[in-house]
């Protein structure tokens, strides 16, 4: 077992952080434990549930499947950073108004998946939204409210784009 700590430098939510980490430390544990960014959750630690999604150099990845050392030199955005930057405020508002979360445990991952789903513009069908969420389990909502919230944002963004109702 390789246990000598290694120095990593990661851009986290726009700030450069340096830490010594054990080689076996997952990115999720690094964020949660070493940096106190507990908005990233662990539901399965095997890439199935999506609770641990973070944005790595702009695309959604499972932080449970990555080692902290693999993020060396890269840029990670967690739910805390995305929320505070205002980038997903329309999604947050829609989730809140539609009550698209109950216990909230899946919510960070859902927002990151939703952001990715809408990244390319356009208004996906409800089925496409449901497909896009297939790597994100939610045990509380039954998904419909989440689909509704994402659909609402997609439509609103498209309307803004063309400067009027579509």
């Amino acid at each position: 077992m390789l246990t000598t700590a290694l120095l990593v430098t990661v851009m986290v939510n726009g700030e450069s952080v340096q830490r010594f980490v054990e080689p076996r430390l997952s990115l999720a544990d690094f964020l949660r434990r070493d940096l106190g960014l507990t908005g990233t959750h662990l539901g399965c630690e095997m890439g199935a549930c999506g609770a641990c999604l973070v944005s790595l150099n702009g695309s959604a990845v499972h932080s449970c499947l990555m080692l902290a050392v693999q993020a060396d030199g890269l840029s990670v955005d967690t739910i805390e950073g995305l929320a505070e930057s205002g980038f997903i405020s329309d999604l947050q508002t829609a989730f809140h108004e539609r009550n698209a979360m109950q216990c909230g445990f899946c919510t960070s991952g859902m927002l990151i998946a939703a952001r990715e789903c809408l990244a390319h513009g356009g208004v996906p069908s409800r089925e496409e939204i449901r497909d896009a969420l297939s790597g994100n389990y939610c045990r509380c909502t039954g998904y419909q409210s989440i689909v509704d919230a994402i659909e609402t944002v997609a439509i609103a963004r498209a309307e803004k784009e063309v400067g009027g109702p579509v």
């Binding site: 054990e22 959750h41 539901g43 630690e45 549930c49 216990c103 445990f105 389990y137 909502t141 409210s145």
Partner: protein, 791 residues
């Protein structure tokens, strides 16, 4: 009805009944939820468990010498270490006459009784270090024959799990009402054998506990992902011999619970014990494999049932046998027999049936413990009932809606006592049935079904009624000696600036308890909801109460808050009257303003609070402004509040692959007064999906030797967004008159009959093949076997 004040409560519907989003849920959208595993405290250690790899084994010796030398390890405890400080617990209640269950301790002693049974706890600087050390613990086992199938466990020659008991039968009961033999004489008879697989809660947040014992003061502080903190305060105090006033249990944000997080688990007791012994804070969070192996499982029933029906389609009697396998012992403190008990008592509850016989056997087996999970017993009872009712309809040539119309309890029959003894205040069965007929557009989907059938597309339509137990009185647990509160308590205080803080014993796991309590308090007091803050889940802060179980948050907690709010309003206008030299009964409170009979604002609550707290010298002598009230409320009147409703499901069965696609699901529900329709609908939808998961995908599969075969999220199928339909929810309101608020519960209604509706829908689709299926989950393989496509 409990009236805390003589001011009548006029429902203004400003807040009660409004679809308001949950103010406090915003933190989840910013990653600012705070779950137990998020909490770190100084000098904290992490725990990991060594578990028995066998379903049933004798433990001859445990050697921890090498493991103790691992880096970071603080200590390793085994069964005997914890047995010294922990009184065993026994999962029986006296009102289940004759039930027996083996005493439990935090860690296995001479025998381990399921694969996953904790044997040793390692506490170390980090979880990873604790796990490293696990591998160096040496245990000498002798594997014993395992009881895996519940029916085998009843066999005379079966291995015994609890030798002292003499057999594996934990509990048995019989119900007989009317003359069952007569009911079946000259009747048409339909019958079926059902298998209900085991599934489990799979809360997205696994179980987690952080226990912090301070040996200098004897203070135990526990943060725990639970729905019932007061119950755990009682358990930890009694079993570890601590002063209860010195035990604090906090439930921070809880990432799903569904009944699973109210049972006593060996790991929780071991972590508390490890903190007491070490004098250090100890945290344990289950990983997903541990969750599958130790979170309670649900269902696991074999039911054989018969229904007698007249040729006119009048139901005459039910005859039921249920055998349920509950794992090696009965769960504490609520037992593992409530589920089976509800199965045999709820079957047929919606119908005019007086002849009834049922037998229940609850059997021990070497599997993980089985106990209460969302909708306890209801999904089994209604799958059996509604399947048989559909079968009866087919037998006598009636439409599924028509046979229900002919047999439901109707408005002229209340109050009603069921054949099994449940007292029902009032239901709205026939109203919900007609509403469902309308919203499904039944005629149209039947026509479409027939049209598609000719093209080789097999759709099925299923409906299923439920009658759900909510707002339980102490008849549930208290009368049997269980330390489970059926009442709740609430403290309301006016802050220095005239806002309201509410400390209430019902708890929040995302269903919106805090939101509806705020709505009720704002309305009852007569103030702006933005000035009401609700606090839950901390035994140091709120009065003791039942917290969250059996859908009691709105019905019991809501009434508690309502009466507390009325009390506070009365107190406020009394103080205002004294200040304003005006009779209190001429004053009331509207939107945080004290107004007189002419609707003139005389002062604001803010001004009143300011005077009360900062200028008490100006108040009339001897009249201190006591702007804090407490109120407790326990259900009285009917022992339970029964809700009702009906589900409709539209499915498509691919007869090549056996895959079922749920196209649409409808629910018409009646939970009494709806406090927040947005939240009720989301409770229903979430519940429906858990029921559909059970119907189609979810199953804890065991090998013949008692090994759990699919203990991971990749192998155990939780419903995904792409597999679930849109779900339409409609409300009918029949408030209970046992309370002023009139709310019953809604948290379990979605799960109570969605699997039954799906079962009926699939069978409706399969009927053209003369095939049927009576086992859930209805996996593709089982569907294909049912239609004879595979052997």
């Amino acid at each position: 009805m409990s009236n805390a004040s003589d001011i009548p409560f006029a429902k203004t519907t400003k807040y009660i009944g409004a679809a308001l989003p949950r103010a406090t849920a915003k933190r989840f959208l910013f990653g600012r939820g705070r779950y137990t595993d998020d909490i770190e405290v100084p000098r904290m250690l992490s725990a990991a468990f060594l578990r028995c790899p066998y379903a049933h084994a004798r433990i001859l010796a445990i050697d921890t010498t090498n493991a103790r030398k691992f880096p970071g390890v603080h200590s390793i405890l085994t069964g005997v270490d914890l047995a010294r400080i922990c009184r065993p617990w026994v999962g029986t209640l006296t009102h289940f006459a004759g039930m027996k269950s083996a005493p439990q301790l935090p860690l296995a002693m001479e025998k381990a009784v399921w694969s996953g049974h904790p044997i040793a706890i390692v506490i170390a600087e980090t979880r990873a270090q604790a796990e490293d050390a696990l591998e160096a613990i040496q245990v000498e086992f002798v594997e014993l024959p395992a009881v895996v199938d519940a029916l085998d466990g009843l066999n005379e020659h079966s291995a015994l799990i609890n030798e002292a008991a003499g057999d594996n039968l934990i509990y048995a009961t019989q119900i007989e009402a009317g003359t069952i033999a007569q009911a079946f004489e000259d009747a048409e008879i339909v019958e079926a054998d059902f298998i209900f697989g085991r599934h489990t809660a799979v809360t997205m947040e696994p179980r987690s506990i952080l226990a912090n014992f301070d040996p200098s003061t004897g203070r135990l502080d526990v943060h725990q992902s639970t729905q019932t903190p007061y119950q755990f305060q009682d358990v930890y105090a009694r079993h570890f011999n601590l002063s209860e006033a010195n035990v604090r249990v906090v439930a921070p944000d809880v990432g799903g619970s569904f009944g699973m997080k109210l049972h006593v688990y060996h790991e929780d007791m071991a972590v508390v014990g490890a903190s007491i012994i070490s004098g250090r804070p100890v945290k344990f969070t289950a990983d997903r494999m541990e969750s599958f192996a130790s979170d309670i499982h649900a269902r696991d029933h074999r039911v054989r049932a018969r229904l007698a029906v007249s040729s006119e389609g009048i139901l005459r009697g039910f005859d039921v046998d249920d055998v349920t396998g509950v794992g090696p012992f009965s769960t504490y403190p609520r037992t593992s027999v409530v589920e089976g008990n509800q199965v045999v008592r709820l079957i047929g509850a919606a119908y005019r049936v007086t002849d009834y016989r049922a037998a229940l056997r609850v059997v021990a087996q070497n599997k993980n413990q089985m106990s209460q999970y969302r909708a306890v017993g209801h999904p089994v009872a209604f799958a059996v009932t509604e399947y048989l009712v559909d079968l009866a309809a087919r037998k006598v040539g009636l439409d599924p809606f028509e046979i229900r119309r002919r047999n439901y309890l109707t408005q002229d029959m209340y109050p009603h006592t069921t054949a099994t003894g449940y007292q029902i205040e009032r239901l709205s069965l026939e109203i919900c049935l007609e509403k469902l007929h309308e919203v499904m557009d039944y005629a149209a989907i039947v026509a479409e079904q027939e049209r598609l059938r000719r093209t080789g597309v097999y759709r099925g339509i299923g409906i299923a009624t439920y009658v759900e137990i909510t707002n339980p009185s102490p008849a549930f647990y208290g009368v049997g000696g269980g330390h489970v509160s059926a009442q709740d308590g609430c403290i309301l205080k006016v802050t220095q600036s005239g806002e309201i803080q509410c400390m209430i014993s019902v708890t929040e796991q995302g269903q919106g308890t805090e939101a509806i309590i705020a709505q009720i308090v704002a309305e009852a007091v007569g103030t702006d909801i933005a000035t009401v803050r609700v606090f839950t889940g901390d035994t140091d802060m709120t009065p003791a109460g039942g917290a969250a179980w059996a859908c009691r948050g709105a019905g019991v907690g809501g009434e508690t808050a309502l009466q507390a709010g009325k009390k506070l309003k009365k107190r406020i206008v009394e103080v205002a009257g004294a200040i304003l030299h005006c009779p209190a009964h001429h004053l009331t409170l509207v939107d945080g303003r004290i107004v007189d009979a002419q609707q003139h604002t005389r002062m604001t609550l803010r001004e009143l609070a300011h005077l009360s707290y900062f200028r008490s010298d100006l108040l009339p002598a001897g009249r201190p402004a006591e702007l804090t009230v407490a109120h407790h409320h326990g259900p009285s009147g009917f022992p339970f509040a029964f809700t009702n409703g009906i589900h409709g499901s539209l499915v498509e069965v691919d007869v090549e692959t056996g895959i079922v696609k749920i196209l649409k699901h409808w629910v018409v529900e009646d939970c009494g007064t709806v406090i927040n329709p947005l939240l009720v609908e989301e409770q229903i939808r979430g519940g429906v999906v858990q029921g559909l998961g059970a119907a189609l995908f979810e199953e804890c599969r065991y090998s013949a030797s008692g090994q759990l075969l699919n203990g991971s999220m990749a192998d155990y199928l939780v419903p995904m967004a792409c597999e679930m339909p849109d779900i339409e929810v409609y409300h009918v309101e029949t408030p209970t008159r046992d309370t002023e608020l009139g709310a019953k519960g809604c948290g379990e209604a979605g799960t109570a009959a969605s699997s039954a509706a799906a079962l009926n829908a699939v069978n409706n689709a399969l009927s053209v093949f003369g095939a049927s299926i009576t086992q859930i989950p209805m996996t593709p393989e089982r569907i294909l076997r049912a239609i004879g496509a595979v052997g």
